[in-house]
Amino acid sequence: MDLQILLLLGQDGLTNGAIYALLALALVLVFAVTRVIFLPQGEFVAYGALTLAAIQAGKLPGTVWLAVILGIAVVLIDGGLALKSGNLKRLPRIVLGNLGLPLVLLGLISGLEAEALAALALPLQILLTLGIVVPLGPLLYRLVFQPIAEASSLVLLIVAVALHMTLIGLGLVFFGAEGFRTQPFSDGALEIGPLLLQHQTLWILFASAALIAVLYVLFERTVYGKALRATALNRTGARLMGISTTMAGKLSLGLAAFIGALSGVLVSPMTTLYYDSGFLIGLKGFVGAIIGGLASYPVAALGAVLVGLLESYSSFYASAFKEVIVFTLIIPVLVWRSLTSHHVEEEEE
């Protein structure tokens, strides 16, 4: 066996695994807080990558319009409710909070010449991308999941599937059927012994590790992070502390959108992404999340890295069966989980 190839595959697997790990963490978070198995997670990846690609091509990405339209819808609904209850003081916050950023970004991007937009520094382009995609999370929570927050897990799953299809369809409308790649964060490679590490690989590993560290600090050290965990542990208890389920839901989907968009931005220099590429990527994160029982963050992350490695080695040794092997992993995992973990009822005391 060739060590060089083995290392190369390992490096590949680790890089993809890092991205899957981020998505697995987002899935565990959203499920814990909202009970939604968030299938559309992968769409945030595609939207992040393709929005950045559009900006680098000097085009106005359609996702800005999506953010603006969703923002208007939320302002109409929440504003209408505030008017009806005579709560006029809340109006400015509703408008600014839901529509402010999308409108500013729409103005900013359409105000720039195509060449100027394409020539913006990469960090600024990434910032614009995140600014467009991240608000989609809370807006979608408000419009899609908040009205059915008390519904059964099955209903929530069905709605998640529907949202996933809708977002893929919209992706096709916004970006067309062709695939895109974005510029790498930096060119070049680093040689360590027999290994040749692309800079982008290092960026991915570094950014994933940093993001995981940030999430850890957020959940362990900050009041808002603890409030999110509290909602996941005991919804009624959290409400009685004044932690609104709605706020927690918006926050968790905002984080999920941030993680997804950042993942998309990170991988898009390495692989060509299409409007529907998010699904498979998200699904591999999902396998990781399942390994963690949709509950344990570290096990989910490690499981996702395992998925990345398995995928990488199987693509070399049995490339036709790559996806089959990865997704078949879910069966022994489910058997093992159902044998080892006690069943958690929805109405646990």
């Binding site: 965990r229 542990l233 005991n234 009624t236 009685l240 502390m241």
Partner: protein
């Protein structure tokens, strides 16, 4: 002149009705709590005591008037908003965050204040620890590993972290050993000194009537009796139904 001496009502409930589907669990309940008072609602299992507190907290829809510090609390006002206005409930089931530490549970009790920009939780926590020294000893322990009495203390401490105007306690003595119950009621009486108004729901009528200023008896969803607690404690109907066993002993 006289009005200045009369404490203002914190909560005035009139004709409160609550239904689960078509079944009415509370029928035209009216009660009043004045500033700094401890008011108790006693009654047997299934009388509607928990339902009453859940409705007042905004967890259940209701009909009727609820006036809180002078303004009307519409049934649509969310739980979170009520917390912000100084209403706090210690629920019958405690609803602690089992996997989080005692300290984090307390901290989250101050979440609404924190969100409004009030960062005095460290100070408040010291006050809570002074009231419940046991919690201080256990501050790093997970809430789920506490004993029953300690859990009740944590639930009360967590509620106090919100610095409530009106504290509602749902059967704080439920499932606890007699010595711990004594301790809990001692603390309830002590809380009175801090000026907080307390609505205390209990099946343990004897202990509740001892600490309370005024009492209501709730039976099958309706108030059947009310009066100053020392009068209620002497009322033959109360003695027979709720203080029966102990009453015979002292007689």
């Amino acid at each position: 002149m006289n009005a200045a001496h009369e404490p203002k009502p914190v909560l005035e409930v009139s004709d409160l009705c609550v239904a689960y589907g078509k079944v009415e669990a509370l029928h035209k309940v009216s009660l009043r709590i004045r500033e700094g008072e401890i008011v108790t609602v006693i009654g047997p299992n299934g009388a509607g005591k928990t339902t009453l507190l859940s409705a007042l907290m905004g967890l259940l829809p209701y009909r009727g008037e609820v006036a809180y510090v002078g303004h009307n609390l519409d049934a649509h006002v969310e739980v979170e908003e009520r917390v912000g206005q100084g209403l706090t409930l210690v629920p019958e089931k405690r609803e602690l965050f089992a996997e989080m530490s005692v300290e984090d549970n307390l901290l989250l009790g101050a979440f609404h204040r924190y969100r409004s920009g009030l960062r005095d939780h460290a100070q408040t926590m010291e006050e809570v620890f002074a009231l419940f020294p046991r919690l201080k000893e256990r501050r790093t322990q997970a809430a789920g590993t506490l004993s029953g009495g300690e859990r009740q203390m944590l639930a009360m401490g967590r509620a106090l972290m919100a610095k409530p105007k009106l504290l509602m306690l749902d059967e704080p003595s439920l499932g606890l050993a007699p010595l711990i119950i004594k301790e809990i009621f001692r603390i309830v009486a002590e809380l009175k000194q801090t000026g907080v108004s307390i609505l205390l729901v209990e099946q343990n009528a004897r202990a509740a009537l001892q600490v309370a200023d005024y009492g209501y008896v709730l039976e099958t969803g309706e108030v059947s009796l009310e009066g100053p607690s020392h009068e209620l404690a002497d009322d033959p109907r109360v003695i027979e139904t709720y203080l029966g066993l102990g009453g015979k002993k002292t007689a």
